[in-house]
């Protein structure tokens, strides 16, 4: 037999199911008090979710417009439920959702721009760490097999087919200032892979482009190769130059 608590749980679930229901109450012609009330909750949910997405995906918002973003938001609410109590945590799956829509057929770059913006959002909220200066003394150790480079937890190594960093920067301008010819060139069929490192510096997210070798090095560092293994694999790599950049850009937590 169902307990009183179970019954209450079920009633609360039922209300949430109605609010999240794909069938909009706007289509309900019976304007009784309950329908009016549910419509308000449905509109509130959609408006709050759209606002949450527009804050995380400002360039997507600019590129597709609020109406299209509302349509995507409605779909996303059924794929990815808000679950943490903080709207800032919701919306990660926008990029994969875009790939299933007609928008993607006409504008394939949108999925990558959405990925880029999500990573930027995550990087902006991540906890940066200070460099453990004393740990750098491990560089003088004889046996580098047990020395590992520890990178900032906010650092991400990413690849894109489109020049998403440039597209994103261009959209930081006022709409009237955006050079549409320049944008059209950037959005053309991609030719070369865009490799970037995204990280937090002075509490602000930053993006730098990488060469193929720099990217491979960082991927191997993140994979946990020892300094000895890295130097064996990248014989011509300028370690001291890289360390200098890594410290300056706050990529490095230290050596362990």
């Amino acid at each position: 037999m169902e307990s009183e608590l179970d019954i209450l749980c079920r009633r609360q679930e039922a209300l949430i199911a109605l609010i999240f229901s794909e069938q909009s109450m706007l289509e309900n012609k019976e304007e009784d008090q309950m329908s009016k009330g549910l419509k308000i909750y449905q509109n509130n949910l959609l408006m709050t979710a759209v606002r949450a997405l527009s804050l995380k995906y400002p360039v997507i918002d600019k590129m597709i417009g609020r109406e299209a973003l509302s349509g995507l938001t409605r779909k996303l609410l059924h794929i990815e439920f808000p679950a943490s109590g903080d709207w800032a945590d919701w919306g990660e799956q926008l990029s994969s959702l875009i790939m299933t829509t007609e928008l993607y057929d006409q504008h394939p770059y949108l999925a990558e721009i959405a990925s880029f913006e999500w990573f930027l959002h995550e990087t902006a909220r991540g906890v940066g760490t200070e460099l453990n200066v004393n740990s750098l003394a491990r560089l003088s150790e004889q046996n580098l097999k047990s020395v590992f480079i520890q990178l900032s937890k906010t650092l991400k190594v990413l690849s894109f087919h489109y020049p998403v960093d440039e597209i994103w920067m261009l959209h930081q301008l006022d709409e009237s200032q955006i050079d549409t010819n320049e944008l059209a060139v950037l959005l053309k069929e991609p030719i070369e892979l865009r490799r970037i490192v995204m990280y937090q510096r002075e509490a602000v997210p930053c993006v730098e482009r990488l060469t193929e070798q720099e990217q491979a090095w960082l991927i191997d560092v993140l994979a946990g190769l020892s300094l000895d293994q890295l130097l064996e694999k990248y014989v011509t790599f300028d370690l001291s130059g890289w360390l200098s950049v890594a410290i300056e850009e706050q990529w490095l937590e230290g050596l362990r």
Binding site: L8, C9, G85
Partner: protein, 309 residues
Amino acid sequence: MSCLNTAHTRGEALSSMVGVGLRHPHYKEALLGSSSIDFVEVHAENFFAEGGIVPAILDDIAQQYPISLHSTSMGLGSAVGINRDYLQRLKRLSQKVTPILISDHACFTWSNLNGNAVHAGDLLPLEFSQQSLQVMTENVDKVQQVLGRKILVENLSSYVEFRFSNMSETEFLTELVNRTGCGLLVDLNNLIVNAHNFSDESSLQTASQWLQQLPTGAVGEIHLAGYTPVAENELIIDDHSQPVSDECWSLYRTALKQFGAVTTLIEWDNNLPSWPVLLDQATKARSIMSEITIMKNVPMSEEGFLNGI
């Protein structure tokens, strides 16, 4: 980190504090100059990020103002309980800020949808029943234990009514106070919105009667706000997008006469005015509080809300 003015650490001073809800577009102005407010209220979830610029902004705010943490996601009436990670994030924030008040709503937010955990993203109404009261009591108890302090529970504006309710909202809240020792945050605008939407009597009369049913000494804070007018037969939405309504000011006078001086907040979340206009609303609230509580010699409300359990 928090730098409270010592004048504000005594209960009798705190009970007559007037503040405003601090929202993102006002951060710069709020932090630039001196202002006439006693505290600011921030939405707790907006400061959950542990890295980036958000913690530094909060540090700056806390250097200048006592902070009231107002949560919108705790879902104190959720039958499935309160998400543990959420509560831990709130606890970390509370330990960092040392807020003068912590509050959330008499609503539910956590549940399941298609077998998965979900957060409603909104303040969903409760049925006022014994089982719902039991859930609410256990959740409020747990939150107060985790946070190590008393919280305030706010009455909700609701757009649906449940046939399962078998007690009034004031009976429900009064019993909650008795069982948990929590305080109440009375949102006068929510009362007016509910009265407009669900009562056949005058909204002010309905709201005044509601206030009269609350226990003396239970009210630790009052929220004042306005709403966008709607056509007849439409439900009013509690959108916090307008100046405090005349009805709300009138009800505020009634509340102060009944409860004495109570910490008061101007809540304006959408269609934000300029910072000076928002401060003017706070000045008006202070003026009314002085007029009612000093001229009429109405006592200060109990000070216990602003300290720990």
